[in-house]
Subunit: 397 residues, 4 copies
């Protein structure tokens, strides 16, 4: 890798996934370039070769860089001169395909931004972590909610001790879109997300409880010790869970509760978290992401607003593009994850050292931890709620 990386050089991106009917591929493509720090120049947009080619113009990807497999992508990109070759690959495909794609890219020395859950199962995740470790690439997992400025604000406050010792974390992710068996109609999203061969061991819990769990981990840095979980399938005939609650014990004695639902009428993407510490407590909701409630006994409830003033931490403030009162939202949060990863990609390109574990963005270790969470949740549920270990050796902090 060249060490004289120009400061303003745009990173070159390849998108895997994102063909017609996809949702998250377009989000990746939009978020990645929001700050004009990257350009989408190559892709492998569908596992179907014809569709891969046909979708390329939607993203301005030239025909000769519209690949039909990750192998082809890696091979042909590596054959390009270093100053044309893609810098990173974004993986936005169904869960069961992440591993092969991410591994191939990482082994080829390409940085990776991978959708979550990171892999199909824990074994793959651990193997991938090893590949990443060996290859030295930058690897981010799209727990995109960690990109919200007010989420980062909470993290800053907690790590700075403003909430004191953390006692309790309650986080829910409540949706309603799978209230009926949408998968038996022609809905592509519903189809693969409820199919154990594509989605993995968990449905609702893999798709969204992982976000709710990750959010608490990211905000607090608390290390978990054990999990007890109960998964439910309320829609008859569905192969995976569509509801569940997990209890979590943390090493410091804190107690957590994570509930996820995809069968709650009218609920959209209601990711909600409350954290209680000995000195203060916070509350944040994804559907209203620009505000944060901070409470302390005997004082007025305080509403922090994004970029709202000197009370906002430096990381949080640096994660904003607009003045307070002009709302930022999902795309900008997603872009913040990218932006944080870019900083490290540039350090890597310049041959400089960069943080690999306690990164601002969720990394491969967080991805492993997410897979471990899913595995233990499913296993605990099978055993009727038995407490199982939850601390993975790779867990950050």
């Amino acid at each position: 890798m060249a060490t004289n990386f120009p400061l303003n050089r745009k990173l070159r991106m390849a998108l895997v996934g994102g063909g017609q009917g996809a949702f998250i591929g377009r989000v990746h493509a939009t978020a990645a370039v929001l700050d004009n720090r990257a350009a989408l120049v190559a892709g492998c947009l569908s596992s179907d070769a014809a569709r891969a080619k046909a979708s390329a113009p939607d993203y301005d990807i030239p025909e000769n860089r519209a690949y039909t497999s990750i192998t082809e992508l890696v091979q042909k990109e590596k054959a390009l001169p270093a100053d044309q070759r893609v810098d990173f690959v974004s993986v936005a495909t169904p869960n069961h395909t992440h591993f092969e794609i991410a591994k191939t890219a990482a082994e080829a020395g390409l940085n990776v931004i991978c959708d979550k859950p990171m892999t199909f199962d824990l074994k793959q995740a651990e193997e991938l972590a090893e590949v990443v470790s060996k290859s030295g690439v930058v690897f981010a997992v799209s727990h995109n909610y960690t990109g919200y400025p007010m989420v980062r604000q909470v993290r800053e406050m907690i790590l700075a001790g403003e909430l004191g010792e953390i006692n309790a974390i309650r986080s829910n992710y409540i949706q309603g879109w799978l209230r009926t068996r949408l998968e038996s109609s022609d809905q592509k999203q519903a189809a693969w997300r409820t199919d154990p061969k594509k989605s993995g061991a968990a449905g609702c819990f893999g798709d969204i409880a992982t976000h709710a769990y990750n959010l608490g981990r990211y905000m607090t840095g608390l290390l978990p010790s054990e999990i007890s979980c109960h998964l439910k399938t309320f829609e008859q005939g569905r192969a995976l869970d569509d509801y569940g609650t997990a209890l979590i014990k943390f090493e410091n004695g804190a107690f957590g509760c994570v509930t996820a639902s995809q069968i709650s009428h009218g609920r959209e993407n209601d990711l909600f978290i409350e954290i209680d510490g000995t000195k203060g407590a916070i509350q944040w909701r994804q559907e209203d992401p620009n505000t944060l409630v901070f409470r302390q006994n005997g004082q007025p409830h305080k509403l922090y607003t994004r970029n709202g003033g000197p009370y906002i931490g430096s990381l949080s403030a640096a994660s904003c593009r607009l003045p307070s009162g002009h709302p930022e939202a999902f795309f900008e949060a997603f872009a913040n994850v990218y932006r944080s990863a870019y900083d490290n990609m540039i350090l890597r390109a310049e041959g400089k050292p960069f943080e690999k574990v306690d990164t601002i963005y969720p990394n491969v270790n967080d991805g492993v931890e997410g897979m471990y969470f899913i595995q233990q949740a499913v296993e605990s549920s099978k055993q009727g709620g038995t407490w199982l270990p939850l601390k993975h050796p790779l867990a950050r902090r």
Copy 2:
């Protein structure tokens, strides 16, 4: 009992508890007479004789009816002519004294309105239920939140099938006032509520989780089957729990989660419930009691307001005193529990039959169920979260 009870005759009330430093006694006294259907004429305001006498003028209780024990109260009241004698006794004392007072009153044929938790332990509760059953008195337990018009609205909607089959109940009661060891200062409320000799087997769970659990039961009518619970004491040196989460399985397959906290900074009386059914979902919060959110996929979220229009059910509408937009609150809800009990007291006085199990107000059976909930929650927690039975033979429905 006289059968020719005049329609507008005011019921005569005796208050037990409510002396200086008490909170809930004054609430009972205020709520009981809000609709001018009762008058407070006698009392036993403190277990301390001098204070009992001294407090009487605060309530306009004449000296000769300011008793110093429930035994004296019953004896002297029974000696009065029927048209002067009290009709009911309100019990607003610390938990460990409820049983003796309520039993004595019921055995004397006096109707009872009793604070919750109803007794010190389950055994007392079951015995009390038997006494009540034998005596035929009207017996209400002050799960006062059931008196909110929008809570009754939910109950009407669910019993009428508007939410379909119920799948999930999530209810939290979050407070912060015991974040520090208030009990070691001179705070009377904190002192007895955290003292196992006065409060019973549970602290936070007996005091407020019971409300959160009862609310779901009252709204849905679902019968529970099992409970798994984890209680925590975060304030060092405290004798009882100040935080906990219980998971509940219901007979129809529904899944519940109840969390209660008294250590969440800045939180006041945040009783919050969400219920998911196959046809719709609701959300209600005690601190904003005049509204209710009803959601159905594909439709706008609907905000129901108290007394807001023809979409409001008849019981809910009859529980209002003011037009919509003029908020009603805690006192009025409390008074609604009283008012519903009065209807039965009058039927009883007139010698007419009245509903004893599926009452609008929480009754002695609900009180038993509450004590069973506490007992099984504490026991499950001791066993590390073992699933224990939760359906009590006396549970309503």
Copy 3:
């Protein structure tokens, strides 16, 4: 009047108005006794003699004190011994009858709590103020919103300078119930409120804009100088205004805007106020009365809650009956106006001096000011919005 008034003596109340179909009479009767400091012992419940008698039992008023005219009431009550005679009269009748009733009572030395608008026109109001001044009675006007603890909190903050110099007041009172010509159906409330012979010169503006204007005056103490107003009648055939906006100049240079509507679909009693000062700004809404937003540049938005902690002022705290988080509402605010007037009634009964102008409760001067506001608003509107004087010589402060 006896000067040795016992501290705990209950005040005796007579209610004028409040017969069947009435709304506000019951509110007065309930609020007046909420704190057990008064008892309703006499009444003149309807201008229809038969209905006056028939309604008496609803309020426990004995037949011999159920009068059929204010003249009879005054005459017969004055004939009673001082320790039985009523202490005050509450006037809850349609606007056009207030004057005669209030004047008769005041001239007889009875204290008065009078509904707003205080009289039919300004002339009556000024005459009444003179009568009150001469008689020395306690006279309160039921601008009941001033009784909300958070309204009083704002008043305390502003008078203490916490908001700095006040620049702007924006207050709206938005309703929807007169969106159709309800008055042409049998609706008693709608009928008299839209009838110029009973309601006075203004409809919506007399009924609710007066509250919105009074609220700003009460909170800030700013003296008005001029008003410019535009009234509209959107429902064809209606005799009085059902919508309007008034601009107000205050003596200190502040600018105000009051909008009232009775034709806004779905709106209930949305009285809303924002006040901007050089040091801070507040926001309060009647439909959510237990919270108050206080803002200062560069700081988190602060949500004050009723009785929420040491940041609450002493008057506000003393206006609460329940701990924070247990909502209080309309009845309790109404009762606070009564309670404040009672304090003065007792001082008067004891022959002690009491504040007559800058009272906690809205008094006869505020009533005059309200009538002046209506008169000048209507006149300005007739003249196409001409600026007219608004400062009445009797205006408080």
Copy 4:
């Protein structure tokens, strides 16, 4: 212009303004390319030549297309082959420079996206409208709030008659950032916005009241007839207004009120609107842009959410990029204005006819109307609130 414009051809953009210290230039650059339908290829980023050059790399503008004046830009771009030349110019400079830039671009046949207020005064605006009309270019004014999906939803609902006849519009835009004389410190934004030589005849009213007024016009399509306005300057020494209220009469008899403030402590960008119709009423707030309240008497309040279901209109739905519950915000709304203008730019490039007056995006006529609003507001205020005409011959509809 070529008529065989390829469907997916990216439009080429030049940015004028946007150098260091600028806010809105970056917003334009980001929004313009959000959907990958345009590329920023040229610019004139500052009136200072050195800064113009220095800022170019921030936007990836090649040095040879980093111009130092609009004249140079037009001249050199026109010299380029048609398939390289810019398609449109975005004007993001202080108000007093808009006219010259926009006129020069339009006369050269380049489409224009211009910040608001569109020009320095009305005369310029009218002249510009004529230039645009003659040149046939697409001309959009960045009343960006019209791009919010829920704003477009309201427009669709009202134009379809769902609210019935419109009676009242209340819109406020409340900020606090100019509470102190920020302009006397080194704040670039504050400096030009409060300078009559750069900002125009109005300060707060030109900057933000225009948005509040435009929003009502866009949503309802109602034509105004007259305006009465009062402007205030609360910060001593400030040259322009920092607060004001305008009353507006509409041709159909509706009544409007627009208040704008820049001196309200802690307020950010609180643009808020309520509209009352004979069949329904709506409420929307920019700081919470993904929801909309729709109310009808007798029915539950309805909360519409962005992209929330079949109740959402086609234009509103087409203005969304994400599923409901994943919030979209300011950038996306801004991008929607661009996107709507692009549709017309493509039609123009293809030689096809396109709508010029009743466009989805705010156009040059709206710009003229905005300037007329400012002129008449300022003039009315000078005359003490005299009613002045407000309907401009070019007003749309």
